[in-house]
Symmetry: C2
Subunit: 195 residues, 2 copies
């Protein structure tokens, strides 16, 4: 097990309905040392890739993205989620459908913050069905910029988001890929990581 | 001018209605080097204060809090904003009224993430009327923990939030306090900072 898988086993909680609670270290309380380990690991995995900007989405992607950004020496842009269409100024907008919340959301980034020359690393905490991620990719493409890579903390390997993104040809690195979870005894199985 | 005041003058945009747009470096795109400067400065200003946890509020407080946390070697908890009352588990909830959005929001933190022994530094990007901040203080008090200090990036000194918080006896440090702004010529005046 790598450092993140260990943390998930130690402090994550498996609940019914394929819910994995990681609010002690990832998406409510945030373990900044762990985020720095993640930054080191992403830098290793994307060492051959030119990156000049990180994009993430509010709210739980922001902390990880900001700490990871220090390992790439780049700024971070976070996309905003909105249900309204009350937009001032020039914005890129992607309409995404949430599977967990059963509603449509808009993902929004100011046009002045993405340029066609940008080589972008997308960072997020979770990848399940991949709706939010698809919205971010759509915005980067709209801007004429390049998705240089995608770094995810925890991928739910039993849902389709990761497969879709990899099928589309994007370079996706997930630091922990959950194969299965058992809410009865709390066990979690991971898919093998690259050595 | 200090480093943050300089950045505001260089890259901030004054708009009508006392709006200061800082989305190029603070609350949409995030300048991580600047956040590290803020971390150093907060550590200097709170050097005599014992702090074991930082609390902030989604979304734009999170990035600053996570980078600042590295200068204190503490974890970060971010409070969630919600309009719903669909809460699972045990949560501290504060009802706050937003002046800018003219609606009521809930500020929510899981009870397991704040203990009575905690000495908490509250971090946020903006302080204007102080609604969100009052909600965070209320939650820390509910938990029986201590507000050891409050660190704000930009305070709008012509609004009442800062005065209220200081009158209540809290130790509040704002890295830039805007005294006045002129949307006609874009000038910004700051209140003097402690030397």
């Amino acid at each position: 097990m790598n450092f993140l898988e260990k943390k998930i086993v130690e402090q994550g909680v498996v609940e019914k309905g394929n819910v994995l609670k990681v609010d002690r270290f990832l998406n409510h309380q945030m373990d900044i040392e762990l985020f720095n380990e993640m930054g080191k690991e992403f830098k290793k995995r994307f060492k051959d890739v030119e990156i000049n900007k990180i994009i993430t989405i509010e709210a739980s992607g922001i902390g990880i993205a900001c700490v990871v950004a220090q390992h790439f020496n780049v700024p971070v842009v976070f996309a905003k989620k909105s249900k309204s269409i009350n937009i001032e100024g020039e914005m890129y907008i992607a309409e995404v459908e949430s599977f967990t919340h059963k509603c449509k959301n808009q993902v929004i980034v100011s046009k002045k913050l993405i340029n066609p020359e940008d080589k972008i690393l997308i960072i997020d905490d979770f990848l399940a069905n991949g709706c939010a991620l698809q919205g971010l990719i759509s915005i980067v493409n709209d801007a004429g910029a390049e998705v240089a890579g995608i770094g995810i903390a925890i991928e739910k390997g039993f849902q389709n988001g990761g497969k879709i993104i990899r099928n589309l040809g994007y370079r996706l690195e997930s630091l922990a890929i959950v194969q299965s979870m058992d809410p009865e005894n709390g066990t979690i199985k991971f898919l093998p990581q690259p050595v």
